[in-house]
């Protein structure tokens, strides 16, 4: 790392990307904040206030009572999905690189195949597979293990969000594996080889060679996964139960409410999700560097 380059060139290189994102997202956020403060889309009557936040965090409405359970449920689902995906990706990547021969393109393709499907479709497919009358249940029925769908265990649309977590883990492992592999491909094979020649066990190689090498990239990837899971509503709406719900699902309900004034609350939840993400990821970073 050096810092001697002319600052001007640095900013020239950054300008295009910064302009596009800073401008588009910045202005959109201004709208978002204004809306959460009570500005009605379409410029109807409204006055700026913190009412939406107040009614969510301490208000007497039933929706407000759901905010805190939704927050807890969101953190649980996002945390568990992120941790399991990161762990899984690490193991898969280690298994792929620890083998004597390099992984073939075919292995990688199978592993990453589900990246080709959007989350919504993947959730539909998982539900076709895992529902109480899904394909697994039909196999169980054919084997005589169950007589009726109700006897099959609840794998999706369960109270604890296991179905949602299963979805994200299966979808995000390929994403994180790609990141880890890209790092290991750029360098790393050689370190591993050296360690092996020096007599390191597979576990030692994973712990002392692979892990330190991929950790920064993996951690950053995990942060992306966490932010995504916390903010997305399609999958929990499909694979979740009616209660408890994730924050993003709660926000969505306010957004489709016919009363346009309720959108302030939906927007407030969305912005609180952003704040929460920044806090959790920031906390992780601090812990990491400490």
């Amino acid at each position: 790392m050096s810092s001697g380059r002319a600052p001007f060139l640095i900013w020239v290189a950054l300008a295009p990307a910064l302009t596009v994102i800073g401008l588009l997202v910045g202005v959109s956020l201004v709208y978002g904040v204004a809306q959460s403060l009570g500005a009605v889309p379409g410029g109807g009557e409204g006055r700026l206030s913190l009412d939406a936040y107040r009614s969510l965090l301490v208000g007497p409405t039933p929706a407000a009572r759901e905010f805190w359970p939704a927050l807890g449920f969101s953190l649980w689902v996002s945390g568990a999905s992120t941790a399991l995906s990161a762990l899984g990706a690490l193991l898969v990547a280690a298994a792929l690189t620890a083998r004597q021969r390099q992984p073939t393109g075919a292995t990688l393709l199978v592993l990453n195949l589900n990246l080709a499907f959007p989350h919504l479709v993947w959730a539909v497919a998982l539900s076709l597979l895992l529902a109480q009358s899904g394909l697994l249940a039909r196999i169980a029925f054919a084997l005589g293990l169950i007589d009726a769908p109700a006897q099959f265990p609840v794998l999706v649309r369960d109270r604890y969000g296991f179905g949602i977590i299963m979805h994200y883990v299966s979808k995000e492992i390929p994403f994180l594996v790609l990141i880890v592999l890209a790092i290991l491909r750029t360098q790393g094979g050689q370190y591993d080889l050296v360690a092996e020649n020096l007599g390191a066990s597979p576990w030692q190689r994973l712990r002392y060679v692979t892990l330190p090498l991929v950790l920064p990239g993996l951690a950053a990837g995990a942060a992306l996964v966490f932010a995504f899971v916390l903010g997305a509503y399609e999958v929990p709406a499909l694979l979740g139960v009616r209660y408890p719900r994730m924050l993003a699902v709660l926000a969505l309900e306010f957004f489709v409410n016919p009363d346009l004034n309720r959108r302030a609350e939906g927007m407030a939840i969305s912005l609180l999700i952003s704040v929460l993400t920044v806090m959790v990821v920031g906390l992780g970073r601090v812990r990491w560097s400490a």
Binding site: M1, S3, I10, V12, A13, L14, P16, A17, V20, I21, L24, V25, S28, L29, V30, G32, P41, G88, Q102, T104, G105, L109, V110, N112, L113, L115, A116, F117, P118, H119, L120, V121, W122, V124, A125, L128, L129, S133, R138, I139, P149, S170, I173, I179, A182, R185, T186, Q187, G189, Q190, G217, A220, G231, A248, A251, G266, M267, I273, S274, V278
Partner: protein, 278 residues
């Protein structure tokens, strides 16, 4: 005696293999099972519990979907949008990632924060704002507007993938090559590309996949004039017919699978080349 010993060894090996294979098999089942389900659903109708296999096989809905003019128009629009977005994301992302990966400078953290803002803010929160902005700028309803707005969710992932590579990239190689008399093109192809190739491939893949899957932003910014495959697919999901969903999903997945296959090849093959660099 010897035979028995062999048998024991063999059995132990088999057992070891099996225990090792179970997690892998589960993993594969979870990764591939849903895709198999989609393929079977796409070719059947009225497939209900407890039928292990569909009683009514049919290719009519699938073929009708593939043959529909709206599907063809949407496929073309999708390819164009995702292609242009990917190229633009790389053009914008490469210099930014290079600077961010190689240099420490004042304001770097702030820049990172801004660039990753789209991943932190839920789509619900900025979708409408982006639409209003695009409308004000007169970008709504055009492919250019759609591409520009796709860059918002796409760029962070592109830059992210490139950052990881540049963080460990040594400009010394380029300097050395240049000192030895290589021109810029030669430096790029013989030095930078082999080193950056895998990361760049992954970045392009991410860009393509993220753009390819956008539904809401395309619908809003496209204003009904840009109709892409995700719009058809998400509408089908709203209808809940597994046959329609599966058929469109497979069509939808074909170009990404191709992209992933290319990327996988590059990743698998790239390793050997990179190895030679050291």
């Amino acid at each position: 005696m010897r035979g028995a010993n062999l048998l024991v060894t063999f059995r132990a090996a088999l057992l070891r293999r099996a225990t090792r294979a179970v997690p892998g098999a589960l993993c594969i089942a979870l990764l591939v099972g849903p895709i198999v389900a989609l393929v079977v659903y796409a070719c059947s109708t009225r497939w209900f519990f407890p039928q292990l296999l569909p009683a009514e096989w049919t290719l009519t809905p699938l073929l009708r979907q593939l043959g529909s003019p709206q599907t063809r128009v949407a496929l073309r629009a999708s390819l164009l949008t995702a292609g242009v977005t990917t190229a633009l994301a790389l053009v914008l992302g490469l210099p930014a990632a290079r600077v961010l990966g190689l240099w420490r400078f004042r304001g770097r953290t702030l820049v990172l924060l801004i660039l990753f803002l789209p991943t932190v803010v839920p789509p619900l929160a900025i979708g409408m704002g982006l639409n209003i902005l695009a409308l004000r700028l007169g970008l709504a309803g055009s492919l250019l507007g759609v591409v520009l707005v796709h860059l918002v969710p796409v760029l962070p992932y592109t830059i992210f993938a490139l950052l990881g590579v540049f963080a460990r990239y040594d400009e010394g190689y380029e300097l050395q090559a240049r000192t030895l008399g290589a021109g810029p093109l030669r430096v790029w192809f013989r030095v930078a590309w082999p080193l950056l190739g895998p990361g760049l491939t992954v970045a392009a893949l991410f860009a393509f996949l993220v753009s390819w899957s956008q539904y809401l932003l395309t619908l809003l910014i496209g204003g009904g004039r840009v109709i892409t495959l995700p719009m058809l697919l998400f509408a089908a999901v709203a209808g809940g017919n597994p046959t329609s969903i599966a058929g469109l999903a497979l069509l939808f997945a074909a170009p990404p699978v191709l992209a992933i296959a290319l990327a996988a090849r590059a990743l698998a093959a790239g390793s050997a080349e990179v190895g030679q660099q050291y």
